[in-house]
């Protein structure tokens, strides 16, 4: 194999990989959207943010789901969220919660697979992760 061909092969591999990464990047991108957008884009993973509606959270022991409601401070809209997993630490004190997942039209709930809980600034914050 001559050196020239090695460079060409290497270049082709790099370009192919660059294309592959860009495509993965595009599909993996979870945009920050409004509740209305989240409802209309039920087919893709998005993230929504909002404040926790007081006393709206409950844990469904049998199904293993945490249910709660988020409200958008500006529009006042409310979004019901379902999260499969542990209630994050300092969940009740959160100034805002970011839910990453997709809207489930069947149950009219946002099905979150990851929550980011933002706390008053004295905390760096706590996070609940879904590890693959």
């Amino acid at each position: 194999m001559s050196k020239k061909w090695t460079y060409i092969l290497g270049g082709v591999l790099l370009v192919a990989f660059a294309g592959f990464s860009m495509a993965s990047f595009k599909t993996a991108l979870t945009p920050y959207v409004s509740y209305a957008d989240a409802r209309s884009k039920a087919d893709r993973t998005v993230q929504v943010a909002g404040g926790l509606v007081p006393e709206s959270s409950s844990y469904d022991t049998d199904a293993g789901y945490l249910h709660f409601q988020l409200t958008d401070a500006e529009s006042g809209e409310v979004m019901a969220v379902r999260y499969e997993g542990l209630k994050p630490a300092n969940f009740e004190d959160a100034i805002s919660i970011v839910a990453i997942g997709r809207f489930d039209a069947g149950s009219s709930e946002f099905e979150a697979n990851k929550l980011l809980v933002k706390c008053p600034s004295k905390y760096q914050g706590a996070e609940v992760k879904e590890y693959g």
Binding site: M1, K3, T6, G10, L14, F17, F20, S21, S24, F25, A28, L29, T30, P31, Y32, V33, D37, T45, V46, Q47, A49, Y59, T61, D62, G64, E84, G85, L86, K87, A89, N90, F91, E92, D93, V98, I100, K114, L116, V117, K118, C119, S121, K122, Y123, Q124, G125, A126, E127, V128, K129, E130, Y131, G132
Partner: protein, 762 residues
């Protein structure tokens, strides 16, 4: 000045002194560069006093934390009276300002070592290095940790309970040593360019680069271990921006190490190494910018909120980008480059290929982490999740494994394909055997099977080479190969623990054995808090082979912040971890415990064969006087609650009574229920016409058992992740001690050469 009165001077003064001394050191070294040898001593002393001032600053903050001096805002924010003293250290770096201070502390101390090891290049190396630490120093002057509050609070806000962990005491400071070490090869590289001395810097910077690789690697290992073992995140790596911010410089550091090795062995990669040393430091700064400036605030709460230092960090990046760009642009053509004459199948060519691959991985991770910035111009900026990183890094890992498998059998001069195949086949057979075993164990995805094959091949091939090297030149010479063995191990661990883990969420009623996969779990009891030991749950685990043990996941509430904290119980066996993570605990009620119910008129309560229909209040029949009059006279009023009670199909009218006076004295006689037990009125609500009833001693009420919801995860071969990283780091230690010896010898050789030269001159 009013500003002065708002600062805690015992801390602020040494901080300012540090600025003055740093400027002096810089000025002194600038004089040396201009040929004024006399200034060298001045510059060294100035640097020494700068480091001393920084140490003093850190000590003052530490003392203020230990004394819980809440006048200081930082102490108030991150400490509290109830914070155990060993966590005062964690409070030191819990906040933005303190973490910059610990970074500066390590940076200034490392500079003393850099001064001693920089030889002839001392002035430019120390000049650049002092500039890098001054960047941190200015951030601290701007974000002074010694700002005082207007009045002294009685107690601090306390440390985030998530950070009250022994790992928090040890992990961040080590991480910041790694960050601080990132500036050292950069300083050496820039100084070499400045002096146009392109040959000697790599030998001197190599041990520093290896030290940075080791320390940052250790910090990453600890972070993963912390996340996995105590934080209960279920995994060791989540591709969070903060995690990535430490991984990216580490990966560029790996590339730089190999570039340095190539330069030393073959004289290649000279130009690239300047770029790489700059990239490592830039990655440290950029990671800091991403996680500390608040640009990712909406995407990772791991990140700090914006403290108004984004501008500073951008300015720092601009300065430390401009320096290498200027120096490289003006010297690029002078840097001696060796023409690439390596055949394709040679160690040099393969090293180049592998380093490019690792660099691509680092770039892709950088792009992913920067997604919120890259997409900020779009209508809906977003981020990319772990899927992206896992997907994109899979082909990279495959390629790395392939390259690592072949490298041990290639010589610098080049190896013909036939000879390579001849040497490769025993390792290939071993790899095939392991891959076959994996397929038999359930790895059916062909990509995964290839992954296992290549990783095992890399493992075995490098193990062979390690033994060979160790036999011929001692284990110390085999560090690099050993590190590659670790890469093979860790790759298998990554695949097994992430693609073949399985997890079940289950709710266990106390005392009821429940089969979950191949283990049988029984929630046996709740163990209340005892001293420092938090509330725990005891779960009996019976494995398929009959062996049993008790697991103790913990779920407790932090008293100060009311946060619910969860600690998993991780049980490791040779082949897998059983990861038991608590989700929810419900205490339940014992059988026959009093029950309190509320009924409105017309409502019916029904449970366990008992039915109570509340018909309404009866005020008339129990009072001799009109109720209002009775109240005024201080007489009690008695109210009857008319109800129909049905037990076993037989209905009976009952009217338990409830008396109260205007003074609030209440009497209520319990009334026996037909099926056993009793009912009493424990309250009435005149506004909505509701009655509150207490039911006692109901033999029919079975009570609710306590329930524990847990997440049970099997993580196969996760030990390989830790073990692989240990092997990599151990290999790094071997290499570091070897390169350190070389650097020392290099100095001696140089001195001897100089002496010989001087001797000839006489």
């Amino acid at each position: 000045m009013e500003y002065l009165s708002q600062l805690y001077l015992p801390g602020a003064v040494p901080l300012w002194a540090a600025v003055v001394f740093a400027v002096c050191a810089l000025w002194g070294y600038a004089r040396v560069l201009r040929g004024d040898e006399e200034s060298r001593t001045f510059a060294r002393r100035a640097y020494f006093f700068f480091a001393l001032s920084v140490v003093l600053t850190a000590v003052v903050l530490a003392i203020a934390l230990v004394r819980r001096d809440f006048r200081i805002e930082y102490v108030f924010q991150y400490s509290g009276l109830d914070l155990p003293s060993h966590y005062q250290f964690a409070a030191f770096w819990a906040g933005q300002k303190g973490s910059f201070l610990i970074w500066l502390l390590w940076g200034s101390l490392i500079g003393l070592g850099v001064m001693r090891t920089s030889g002839k290049a001392e002035a430019p190396v120390m000049g650049i290095y002092t500039l890098t630490v001054m960047g941190l120093l200015f951030i601290l002057v701007r974000e002074n940790p010694f700002v005082m509050l207007g009045e002294t609070p009685l107690d601090g806000q306390g440390l985030n309970p998530l950070l009250q962990d022994n790992w928090m005491v040890i992990h961040p400071p080590i991480m910041f040593i790694g960050y601080a070490l990132g500036a050292v090869p950069f300083a050496f590289a820039m100084a070499a360019l400045w002096r146009r001395d392109y040959r000697s810097w790599v030998a001197r910077a190599f041990p520093w680069a290896l030290a940075g690789f080791l320390v940052l690697g250790t910090a990453i290992l600890m972070g993963g271990y912390w996340a996995y073992k105590t934080l209960g995140w279920g995994g060791y790596w989540g591709w969070d921006p903060v995690e990535n911010a430490s991984l990216i410089p580490w990966l560029f550091g790996v590339v730089m190490l190999h570039g340095m090795h190539l330069e030393r062995m073959k004289g290649r990669y000279r130009r690239a190494n300047y770029v790489l040393a700059s990239l490592v430091y830039m990655a440290v700064l950029y990671g800091t910018f991403l996680t500390r400036s608040g640009v990712l605030a909406d995407f990772s709460v791991h990140s700090f909120v914006d403290l108004g230092i984004s501008g500073w960090l951008i300015a720092l990046m601009a300065v430390f980008l401009a320096i290498p760009i200027y120096l490289l642009a003006t010297r690029w053509k002078e840097i001696p480059a060796v023409k690439n004459e390596d055949p394709v199948l040679s160690r040099g060519a393969f090293m180049v290929l592998s380093t490019i691959t690792v660099a691509v991985a680092a770039l892709v991770i950088t792009a992913g982490t920067s997604a919120p910035l890259l997409t900020s111009f779009m209508e809906n900026p977003g981020q990319v999740g772990p899927d992206f990183y896992n997907k994109v890094n899979l082909p990279i890992a495959l390629l790395i494994a392939l390259l690592l498998s072949l490298v041990p059998f290639l010589t610098w001069r080049g190896t013909p394909l036939g000879a390579l195949m001849k040497k490769l086949w025993p390792a290939a057979l071993g790899g095939l055997a392991i891959a076959a075993l994996a397929v038999w164990l359930g790895v059916h995805d062909p990509f995964h099977a290839i992954f296992v094959f290549l990783s095992s091949l890399a493992l075995i091939a490098n193990l062979q080479k390690t033994f060979e090297r160790a036999r011929s030149s001692g284990l110390g010479a085999a560090g690099g190969w050993l590190a590659h063995v670790g890469v093979g191990i860790i790759l298998i661990g990554f695949l097994a623990s992430s693609a073949y883990d399985y997890s079940t969420k289950v709710t266990l009623a106390q005392g009821e054995p429940t089969q979950v996969g191949d283990v049988n779990l029984t929630f046996t009891r709740f163990i209340p808090r005892q001293g420092r030991e938090k509330e725990r749950m005891e779960v009996k685990v019976v494995k398929a082979n009959g062996s049993e043990f008790f697991a103790y996941p913990s779920l407790f509430m932090n008293q100060r912040t009311r946060q619910v904290m969860a600690h998993p119980d991780v049980r490791s066996s040779a082949l897998q971890d059983l990861y038991i993570s608590p989700i929810e605990y419900q205490p339940g009620t014992p059988a026959g415990a009093p029950q309190r119910i509320q009924l409105a008129q017309g409502e019916t309560y029904e449970a366990n064969g008992l039915k109570i229909a509340f018909a309404g209040f009866d005020l008339q029949s129990h009072n001799s006087e009109a109720p209002m009059l009775a109240l005024e006279n201080g007489q009690p009023i008695t109210v009857g609650a008319a109800m129909e009670v049905t037990v076993n199909g037989e209905t009976q009218r009952m009217m338990p009574l409830y008396s109260f006076t205007s003074e609030g004295a209440v009497t209520a006689q319990p009334m026996e229920l037909p099926g056993g037990g009793a009912v009493a009125v424990s309250g009435i609500n005149a506004n909505d016409g509701k009655v509150q009833l207490d039911l006692f001693g109901l033999t029919t009420a079975a009570g609710e058992p306590a329930r524990l919801s847990i997440d049970v995860t099997h993580k196969p071969l996760i030990q390989l992740v830790w073990f692989g990283l240990y092997v990599i780091l151990f290999g790094g230690i071997l290499a570091a001690s070897r390169r350190l010896g070389e650097a020392r010898r290099h100095d001696t050789v140089m001195e001897q050469a100089a002496a010989v030269k001087a001797g000839r001159g006489e």
